[in-house]
Subunit: 207 residues, 2 copies
């Protein structure tokens, strides 16, 4: 398969959610115009994105919602579940153990770890906070596919290094710090302040 | 000022953080190559983004870290603080009341609201959960600039409608649902599962 840009992947996630809503409402076919309007992008972009993966729609007929959803599910690897570990038993880490959207898309939180003795052993939504010093054994035991870093910025690189040693190939980093990892490991970043800054920009430059 | 794309704004937020790190390490000048490497983009893109706002750097000298940070701060409206309200006293809403990155960038959480009688009156990191039915008065009293929606997907549109009536012009929506708002209101979306799906795509399409 050709190399697909991060922004295309993100739009795929949007289409996936919109299709889900349409299927809930028993809509059977959808045009690129409707998908475009739901997701706030142009219909040309929708057609371009979807054609990238093969010709899904029929001109004048639109796309079959269920089969399109299924195809995007396959592309994104959402036809299966993934075992997820969280590092960091703070507010964000704990909140994520019970995040509905993760469960719904098949991201199952198997493990939450911290290095703080005061947190280790505490219960969070049915999980026990485990000792991060045992990360190698725990990652193996729970067959973890993806790790989430939710620790303070200054500790993020050290945590990432240990996750890499433990065999983790995919990391979602909530700490506001760029991470250096080997080329076979992928890191994605989640910084909730970034979207707030886009709002701040909007409010500052109105009119 | 010319219209700037969302992705440019997002990169500005990245530069802002990288400059912050460099200033912490007492680095006085930085090349577009270094900024590009820190943020995982091309140096041509960095130069293009920054030139968009005027000529900041000198060929062969690079950018002065402090003055570049100051200029980005002005562009993004981060030279001031913003009053923020959270709707939803669940896991995510409560975690966000104490999110370091918000405070650091000047987003001050003044208010958390819920419609659930069992949650109203409870304390969260020094704030009392208020009754969402009083949103109009509360938004006025706390001079709220930005509202965060952290409620279940099915309630998100109704909450947005009430926020718009209360005079809110900028919304960050954590619920996985597209919102319809009047043209003078901006909505940004935060869905933490989307980055997980990019990782799932990466793991599914390796080799």
């Amino acid at each position: 398969m050709k190399k697909i840009s991060d922004s295309t992947i993100r739009r795929m996630s949007k289409y996936f959610r919109s299709l889900d809503q349409l299927i809930d409402k028993r809509v059977e076919t959808v045009s690129s115009d409707t998908l475009a309007e739901m997701d706030g992008i142009t219909s040309a972009q929708v057609r371009k994105d979807l054609s990238f993966f093969g010709t899904f729609g029929k001109r004048g007929f639109g796309y079959n919602t269920k089969s399109l959803k299924k195809q995007i599910e396959n592309i994104l690897g959402l036809y299966r579940t993934w075992n997820v570990a969280i590092v960091g038993g703070g507010n964000i880490g704990r909140a994520l153990t019970d995040y509905t959207e993760f469960k719904k898309q098949g991201f199952i939180i198997r493990l939450i770890m911290d290095k703080d003795g005061a947190k280790i052993g505490k219960q969070v939504h049915g999980l026990t906070i485990e000792d991060f010093n045992k990360v190698n054994d725990l990652v193996k035991r729970e067959q973890i596919d993806i790790a989430i870093i939710a620790v303070p910025a200054d500790n993020a690189q050290a945590v990432a290094d240990k996750l890499v040693v433990a065999g983790i190939k995919a990391i979602l980093n909530f700490a506001p710090r760029s991470l250096k990892v080997p080329p076979d490991v992928t890191v994605k970043y989640e910084n909730m302040a970034v979207e707030m800054e886009a709002l701040s920009y909007f409010l500052s430059n109105k009119k």
